[in-house]
Amino acid sequence: MTTTWPYLDVHQSRTHEPTPYEYKLAATLEEVFTKEGHELADVVRGLNARQVHAPDGAPWTEESFRAEMNRLGA
């Protein structure tokens, strides 16, 4: 923990630098929210349509998306 003044840290909520997968998922989510809608079904459909899949390569389901967001956003 720094003790020098001033404390100016861009990132205070992260525990690690996001991985390329996390960056891609986040950017795609923004696009999906903008173009497809805000419902969970819109999000799952939008991600799968763009072939931005879960880390295991499987298409998203509502359950797997919830679980992954819980892991990444907690």
Binding site: W5, S13, R14, L25, L29, L40, R66, M69, N70
Partner: protein, 337 residues
């Protein structure tokens, strides 16, 4: 004790009002078993955390010769001054004078110890003066206690007077100009009329003809700690949950320095909460930071006498009101009882 009551109104106005709670630093700045030196309201303090997490805040001054306790040694439940080994407990009591056992300092409460609370990841402390040592009643901002709301703290240190940072928050119109290129405040009219609306805990300063488009309103709340509440719309890319809000607090560090605390909050739960937090950490936090940097650059560039040579207009009613209130309180706190 406490802060002295012989301070002038100018000194109090410059270094922060007494007899209320102020934020100090993020909780994470003092880890279990650690100590941290901090400056607040123009004074030096020591944050001391036991290994079980219990936090205390002492004046950073050994009662013996005035050496900084922050240079001393953490002894688990007390601190030993480096200079002569005098040991001070977390309530400010001298527990031991190793060089002269039985010395009459022992057992006396000679060091100021401030009441502390930890709220939303920040340390709040009560800075009473000698006439008001008992902590003022503290009502926490609802967005930080409502389980339906998720809040993430951003803390930054700015080189400028604390009141400039508060005035900036009571000046919503700057959003349409200073932050025009931002991801959240690019919309809305660049002209507006404002009004003040009184509440039982402070006042709203708000546009009369636009809401939910830019930074269109702010509420100043005085609930034992001074804070502001405001909301700013998110673009559709931020997903469900609607606008984000800000609870803002300011730490008067000293005459020229300020700690700013911004909790970005959103009314989200479940997957919507998790998704917002994921986007926040990955992409949004950095954009928010760029907006905050615009404020910092502007406020740090303001001349020290900026508030002495102004020509104000209707949009500055919220600031004028704030200054009158704070100035009157500083005068009252400096006056003999």
């Amino acid at each position: 004790m406490t802060l002295p009551v012989h301070d002038t109104a100018d000194h109090i106005y410059a270094t922060g009002l007494r007899n209320q709670w102020h934020p100090v630093v993020p909780s994470s700045f003092v880890t279990p078993g650690a100590m941290r030196k901090v400056t607040a309201l123009g004074e030096q303090w020591l944050l001391f955390r036991r290994s079980d997490g219990t936090l205390s805040m002492l004046a950073d001054r050994c009662p013996h010769r005035g050496a900084p306790l922050s240079l001393g040694k953490h002894l688990g439940d007390r601190v030993a001054c480096w200079y002569h080994g005098v040991e001070v407990e977390t309530d400010g009591t001298v527990s031991s004078v190793p060089g002269l056992p039985g010395c009459n300092l022992e057992g006396k409460k000679l060091v100021t110890s401030l009441p502390v609370r930890e709220v939303g990841g920040a340390v709040l402390a009560y800075f009473g003066d000698e006439r008001h040592p008992e902590p003022a009643e503290l009502t926490l901002p609802e967005p930080l206690t409502d389980p339906e709301v998720d809040a993430i703290l951003c803390y930054a240190e700015w080189n400028g007077p604390w009141r400039f940072a508060v005035e900036n928050l009571l000046d919503p119109m700057h959003g349409a100009f200073l932050h025009h290129e931002s991801h959240t405040m690019y919309n809305g009219d660049t002209t507006a009329k404002f009004r003040i609306r009184e509440t039982d805990r402070g006042y709203f300063f708000e546009k009369t003809d636009q809401r939910g488009v830019n930074f269109d309103w702010v509420e100043l709340c005085r609930t034992g700690v001074d804070w502001v509440d405001l909301t700013i719309p998110y673009p559709p890319s931020a997903g469900p949950g609607g606008p984000f809000g800000i609870v803002g607090m300011v730490c008067p560090v000293d005459e020229d320095r300020t700690g700013v605390f911004f909790w970005r909050y959103r009314r989200v739960r479940g997957w919507q909460r998790d998704t917002w937090r994921f986007l926040y950490k990955t992409l949004i936090e950095e954009r928010h930071w760029q907006v905050l940097e615009q404020d910092r650059v502007m406020l740090e560039a303001m001349p020290a006498d900026a508030d002495q040579r102004e020509n104000l207009y209707q949009h500055d009613l919220g600031v004028v009101r704030l200054r009158r209130m704070y100035r009157a309180e500083a005068v009252a706190q400096a006056s003999p009882a």
